[in-house]
Symmetry: C2
Subunit: 132 residues, 2 copies
């Protein structure tokens, strides 16, 4: 089974500047800006299907995304895959000793349940799992 | 028009270690290792369709990917989009003042024509265009 890619997330300093750039680059349309207080970010999705991009910008100075930008600058942030049963996938990963950031699902953009796997599990790549 | 995502590239130190990790994580199968002397890398594709991942590992110490790993460690490296006419797209981008790494198409993995757009053009994200 290959899990489908849901989106590719890009961390940006300035959402207003990034949205027109990415709509032009990818030819996709942008969703309205949505605030995710639990992650301290505003997000906009650009495009549709597996190629769509989630632009994420920090709201304050002390979110994980703000620290990512301070450390590495803007750029690719994480990959998100859709799984049919997130709770079951997390239990399976935990049983295999895969380090998780979120032990249980939490609410992400567009009211979907999400969980992050620790980048140690995947050679430095942050991976988000999204409940279908 | 939304250009389809072709693959997401991940820079790794060690291809032997990364391939089983990514086949397990994504559920996809791996292609045979291919050497791209012009870029100083070995590559393996994992999975199929828009969610597939290109794992890239440097062959020597002085390729762009070796410098990327030295500077930032392993992680997400670039996004690749398929375009119907790469020469036309490059001409159009050049006319719009978009900074390019490759002014003309060159040979990439699986004998496809490719060109890289400078990450300055896209808020820090390295973008590869692949001739369909």
């Amino acid at each position: 089974v290959q899990y489908p890619l849901d989106h590719v997330a890009v961390a940006v300093e300035d959402l207003e500047a990034a949205v027109p750039l990415y709509t032009a680059l990818t030819g996709g349309a942008a969703t309205p800006r949505e605030r995710l207080p639990s992650q301290g970010v505003d997000v906009v999705f650009v495009g549709e299907g597996a190629g769509r991009i989630e632009l994420i910008a920090p709201v304050g100075d002390d979110s994980p995304v703000a620290r990512f930008l301070a450390r590495r600058g803007p750029g690719l942030h994480h990959l998100a895959y859709r799984v049919p049963d997130l709770t079951a996938t997390l239990a399976e990963l935990r049983a295999r000793g895969v380090p998780l950031i979120d032990e249980t699902p939490r609410l992400g953009a567009h009211d979907r349940l999400v969980a992050f796997v620790h980048p140690r599990a995947s050679g430095g790549v942050l991976i988000e799992l999204v409940q279908e």
